[in-house]
């Protein structure tokens, strides 16, 4: 099976080749589009979220996956990970801790050494998070990460409430693959199964669970992992409603992989089963996300090559025709096309209005979806959560839960927005007069609408360092994106802001902390009172408390809905502007191509019949590498489509 990272490497190489060809032919729009698309592919992130109950060996597994020995994440027997740790690629190792700033200030980023990690990440080094750490980021020069994989190691979800769970929930909505860690030596608990069932819903890992990977760690400690795996598969299938055969359940031993790294024994690598996990991870990422990234890349490459080939083909067809009137007819035909394109490019072209109408429809659908799903969150809160004593006694946990559920709605809506925008763009190109041969490839997803602010497509030439600088800037962008409350509520926003496109990230994550941190101070007294009252009194109190909570929470609901609406408006605005820019750019590319064609035809009309053969040979020679490149694109597209096997 082809691997994403291989295809990605081949595509990136092809991008430089085709960009050189475009530059040589003085096709600035095509070059710019190619560079932007290359950058999107290079920066495209595949997000893996590592989660599971506490003390299941998540951090050890991360170390084993990334060949970290000594470990990156501390895996002490006593202390436990309490911060989300995000690992991405960097040329050299660089570890940054993000600390909450002073009241109203942006978070502070501090570069630290590996040895200092424990001082921030663990309960013993940083009791009750006195250092107000929000997030740990590590850039590592590891091949697994080089192709854009970002792994988030979340704290355990052991407690039903609390900061740890919130941090995990904040992450789930945008995960491309969910790696859930169980333990061969511990019975699968109902709580774990419930967590997976919920996570599958929030993370939307695909209707057939394609993005869900379950591993049973510590497989080196039991004589027969096989029956445990099958048992876990059956239970997970029951809990998630997914067919057992569709679930990936792997026994692995992180310890054995670390032993292998230390001693080199091949048995340890075999026992670890980590290579199989890597393969499964790639397959899951491919199915979930990689095809989107690769699809956009092959589509752009193919369009660029089509634009570069058209003038050569036209010239080839015309060469040696010798008949002035035939050439004149061809030139006129292309001039016509040029005229049409000029009209299309005009500010008052009718397609702009049509596209706006399409996006108005998207907007109203999304607003409806947001309202509907948000209603459902509150329905559940009223009908279900408010019946639970734990939540009544702990209103903060209730607020956090509602905030996390709402963030999941924002995630779902933004996913839907991107999907719809891509579809609008594709349909529009197909049915409108802009027949731009950009239908994409069968079996690959519609190329997404690029966001303007990171597409770099405004014609400016990026410095080679720009990409890395922007990666850092995106990571640093959490200050503006994340609402920074005390504690992990803020990091919920911060970490999402770190990972994803700034707009979506800010919208989805930024508010989580603010909501979760919203003090329900007036209700705090209830807790103490409830604990001391007798049963009958408590019943009455619970009723009163429920009513009081509903009332107290009403403004939060309004606030959330307002935020969701504003988010949809902003997102649709951005996407629609992005779509316009994309179509304008496609028109410009087409004009560029036709302009080149017309120039070539003019040159042909001035050429002599005598050296037609020579010109033909030269054109054939010019055409060959472009056609070869195009064939390779087709081949890569087929292989990319094959990723989802």
């Amino acid at each position: 099976m082809p691997r994403y990272d291989q295809l990605r490497t081949e595509l990136l190489a092809l991008f430089s080749e085709v960009t050189r060809a475009a530059e040589a032919r003085e096709a600035p729009e095509t070059s710019a589009r190619l560079r932007a698309e290359e950058e999107r592919l290079a920066e495209g992130r595949l997000t893996v979220v590592l989660c599971g109950e506490f003390k299941r060996g998540k951090s050890t597994l991360l170390n084993a996956l990334l060949d970290q020995r000594p470990g990156l994440a501390p895996t002490d027997t006593v202390i436990a990970t309490r911060l989300v740790t995000v690992v991405g690629h960097g040329e050299t190792e660089r570890i940054t801790v993000v600390l909450a700033g002073e009241e109203g200030e942006d978070p502070v980023r501090r570069v630290i050494t590996r040895e200092e990690i424990a001082d921030y990440v663990t309960e013993s080094g940083n009791p009750h998070n006195v250092r107000r750490a929000l997030l740990l980021e590590a850039e590592l020069p590891h091949p697994l990460l080089a192709s854009g994989v970002v792994i988030a190691d979340t704290p355990g979800t052991g407690g039903q409430f609390g900061e740890h769970s919130l941090a995990t929930e904040a992450f789930l909505p945008r995960a491309h693959a969910l790696l859930v860690v169980f333990d061969c030596t511990q019975p699968l608990t109902a709580a774990e199964l419930a967590f997976v069932a919920e996570a599958v819903g929030v993370a939307r890992v695909g209707e057939d669970g394609e993005g869900l990977l379950c591993v049973l760690t510590k497989a080196d400690l039991v004589a027969d992992p096989g029956p445990l795996v099958e048992d876990a598969r059956a239970k997970l299938a029951e809990a998630t409603g997914l067919p057992p055969a569709a679930l990936t359940v792997l026994p692995v031993s992180a310890q054995a992989k670390l032993d292998h790294l230390a001693g080199g024994a091949p048995e340890d690598l075999e026992l670890s089963n980590v290579p199989a996990l890597e393969a499964a991870l790639w397959a899951a990422l491919a199915r979930r996300r990689a095809t989107v990234l690769l699809g956009a890349a092959v589509t752009a490459l193919d369009a660029a090559l089509a634009a570069l080939l058209a003038p050569v083909d036209a010239a080839l067809a015309a060469v040696g025709q010798g008949r002035e009137e035939e050439l004149a007819r061809l030139r006129a035909q292309y001039r016509d096309a040029q005229g049409r394109l000029t009209d299309l490019a005009a500010a008052d072209a009718t397609w702009r209005g049509e596209l706006r109408a399409d996006f108005r429809k998207v907007r109203s659908d999304l607003l409806q979806q947001a309202r509907r799903e948000h209603d459902r969150v509150w329905l559940k809160a009223h009908a279900d959560y408010l019946d639970k004593e734990e939540y009544l006694e702990n209103p903060d946990a209730l607020v956090r839960k509602i905030a996390a559920d709402t963030v999941a709605v924002a995630g779902a809506v933004s996913d839907e927005a991107e999907r719809r925008a891509a579809a609008v763009l594709k349909d529009f190109a197909e049915r409108s007069e802009i027949a731009l041969a950009l239908a994409g490839f069968p079996r690959l997803p519609d190329p997404p609408v690029p966001f303007l602010d990171i597409s770099g497509k405004s014609g400016t030439v990026d410095q080679p360092t720009g990409r890395l600088a922007r990666f850092r800037a995106t990571m640093a962008g959490i200050g503006t994106g994340g609402a920074v409350g005390a504690g992990l509520g803020g990091s919920g926003g911060a970490l999402i802001g770190t990972f994803f496109l700034p707009i979506v990230g800010t919208w989805v994550g930024g508010q989580l902390g603010a909501w979760a941190g919203a003090a329900v101070g007036a209700l705090a007294g209830w807790r103490a009172a409830a604990a001391e009252a007798d049963v009958e009194l408590r019943k009455q109190q619970r009723r009163a408390l429920r009513a009081a909570l509903k009332e107290e929470l009403a403004p939060l609901r309004t606030d959330q809905l307002g935020h969701l609406r504003a988010g949809v408006e902003e997102l649709v605005h951005q996407l629609s502007a992005g779509a316009v820019a994309e179509l304008e750019s496609r028109i410009a590319q087409e004009r560029e191509s036709i302009g080149a064609t017309v120039r070539r035809l003019e040159a042909e009309s001035e050429a002599t019949v005598e050296d037609a053969e020579k010109r033909h040979a030269a054109l054939t020679e010019e055409r060959a590498p472009l056609q070869r490149a195009r064939d390779r694109v087709a081949d890569l597209a087929a292989r990319a489509a094959g990723l989802d096997g």
Partner: protein, 521 residues
């Protein structure tokens, strides 16, 4: 403490109630009147006071309680896995020959079974035999008689678990039995509530989960919970050997120490001790054949064996060139000893510890079980009467509150014991100490613990002298203590609870001196 006085107090209460009862008409409806009920319950309380100390293992499902029970008893009969839930609770009691008794909930007489029947129950439970289900549904608890020396000092209960949320396997077992999931917790709390002292079992050394479990524990309403009556056991510490290669007990001690730093830990637990339960259980019961197989494995050197045994699935199933024993025999060893146990046993054999008895003793020591046993004896065994009396008084108070005026005068004589028995004041001081309310220096704390019986109940043990110390030395030491604490009281060195404590310690020395004089006379 004077057990005879306690018995006399109960006797007097019974006589008083009996005479009141005689002068009164039968209860309406012919049922048991409050006095008759009080007499019956007080007799039960008195019987429990005279019975052995009752110790219960409490913790989450699958935290290694049953394996630890086996290790503590040096026997291998505690039902483990899903089967342990089916019996609700297993009580181990001392018996000259092994026995097996089912106590039923419907009032029918206990059923005695052949001790080997447990194995057959397990098989039938796996096959979901409906006849067995009918029987199991009626079981309140299982009693196993065992000629174990440890059971001379206490009865031991193995409870199924404190969990309110269950692992799937437990849930299946419960569904089969038609028991609601909360039944397990309820049964555990009910039985642990009848115990005099508790062993809190933890299998994961993590402050987060630990704090939760502690809360769970504190919230379960177990009357006995508290440092005087609860010790902790950290089980399955062999996992630390797998992770670090270091001595798992040493690592376990480190983890236990950090756990004790957690909030509330000292309010609930005396101490936490690490144990390799599986190894402890195997140490007492391994066979000559297993011993021979272990010896065979010593043909590999230490590091080779470590590398192989750590790869458990391979060691259990693969033909490995140069590794002795067929895979099935290796698998059997792993199941009994665990990977660490196999490796350690071979280490010891290689160090010339070849006789079976010596190997057993050393494995028991290295499993941490010996240390835990000693702690149980020191902390509970030596104070057994006091712990039991404390419990008897608590139960009497509940009874008196419930039955009211009819019983109160008779119960008063028992409740007064709390004030007349000096040992109770000692207990109160100990509680203050564990709650951190006393300002004593470390040597003073050691003295407090010693004089209240931590290292033994004899005068010599309480004075920190050898058992064969001459009477004059004992009396001299007691007088010394008395004078020191009297001086401290006179100088007003302490205040608040510490002052009370100093007074109690002084009185303890006084009583010791009195006891020594009486002995001499």
């Amino acid at each position: 403490m004077d057990a005879e006085r306690v018995r006399r107090a109960f006797g007097r209460a019974d006589a008083q109630l009996a005479s009141q009862e005689a002068g009164q008409e039968a209860a309406p409806g012919g049922g048991e009147g409050p006095r008759a009920e009080a007499r019956r319950l007080l007799r039960e309380i008195a019987e429990r006071f005279d019975a052995r100390l009752r110790l219960a293992l409490v913790g989450r499902v699958s935290s290694g309680k049953s394996t630890l029970a086996n290790a503590l008893l040096g026997a291998g009969r505690a039902p483990t896995g899903a089967l342990e839930l089916t019996f609700n609770v297993t009580w181990f009691r001392h018996a000259e020959t092994p026995s097996l008794t089912l106590h039923l909930t419907d009032g029918s007489p206990p059923q005695r079974h052949d001790p080997a029947a447990l194995e057959r129950f397990a098989v039938r439970a796996r096959e979901q035999d409906p006849a067995l289900r009918e029987l199991l549904r009626r079981v309140d608890h299982l009693e196993i008689g065992e000629p174990s020396p440890a059971l001379r000092d206490y009865d031991l209960a193995d409870t199924p678990g404190l969990d309110s949320v269950h692992g799937e396997d437990s849930a299946n077992a419960l569904r089969w039995l038609g028991r609601p999931p909360e039944h397990v917790r309820e049964g555990t709390v009910a039985h642990a509530g009848r115990a005099d002292a508790l062993i809190a079992v933890f299998d994961r050394g993590l402050s987060h989960g630990f704090a939760e479990l502690l809360r769970d524990f504190a919230g379960a309403g177990l009357g006995a919970a508290g440092p005087v009556t609860t010790v902790g056991a950290l089980t399955k510490v062999e996992q630390y050997w797998h992770a670090t290669g270091a001595d798992p007990l040493a690592e376990g001690r480190r983890v236990a120490e950090s756990l004790m730093e957690a909030a509330d830990a000292r309010r609930l637990l005396y101490d936490i001790r690490p144990v390799v339960g599986l190894l402890g259980a195997a140490a007492a019961t391994f066979t000559e054949e297993e011993h021979a197989d272990l010896t065979e494995l010593t043909k590999l050197d230490s590091e080779e064996l470590r590398a192989h045994v750590r790869r458990v699935p391979f060691f259990a199933h693969r033909e490995l060139p140069g590794v002795p024993l067929p895979p099935a025999r290796r698998a059997a060893l792993l199941e009994r000893f665990g990977a660490y146990g196999v490796w350690l046993a071979c280490e010891l054999i290689r160090q010339d510890l070849t006789d079976t008895a010596g190997l057993r003793a050393e494995l028991l020591r290295r499993s941490g079980v010996e240390d835990l046993r000693r702690l149980l004896l020191d902390h509970f065994g030596n104070r057994a009467s006091l712990i039991k009396l404390d419990r008897a008084i608590r139960e009497t108070r509940v009874l008196a509150d419930r039955l009211g005026d009819a019983v109160a005068p008779a119960a008063a004589g028992i409740l007064r014991l709390e004030f007349s028995e000096h040992a109770f004041r000692e207990l109160a001081v100990l509680r203050d100490h564990y709650a951190g309310r006393l300002a004593l220096t470390p040597p003073e704390v050691r003295e407090l613990l010693r004089v209240t019986g931590e290292s033994g109940a004899t005068p010599a043990a309480r004075l920190g002298l050898p058992e064969d110390a001459p009477p004059e030395a004992l009396a001299g030491r007691a007088r010394e203590g008395l004078e020191r604490w009297a001086l401290a009281a006179a100088l007003g060195e302490h205040s608040g609870p510490t002052r009370t404590a100093a007074g109690v310690i002084r009185r303890s020395y006084e009583l010791l001196l009195h006891e020594l004089r009486r002995g001499a006379a």
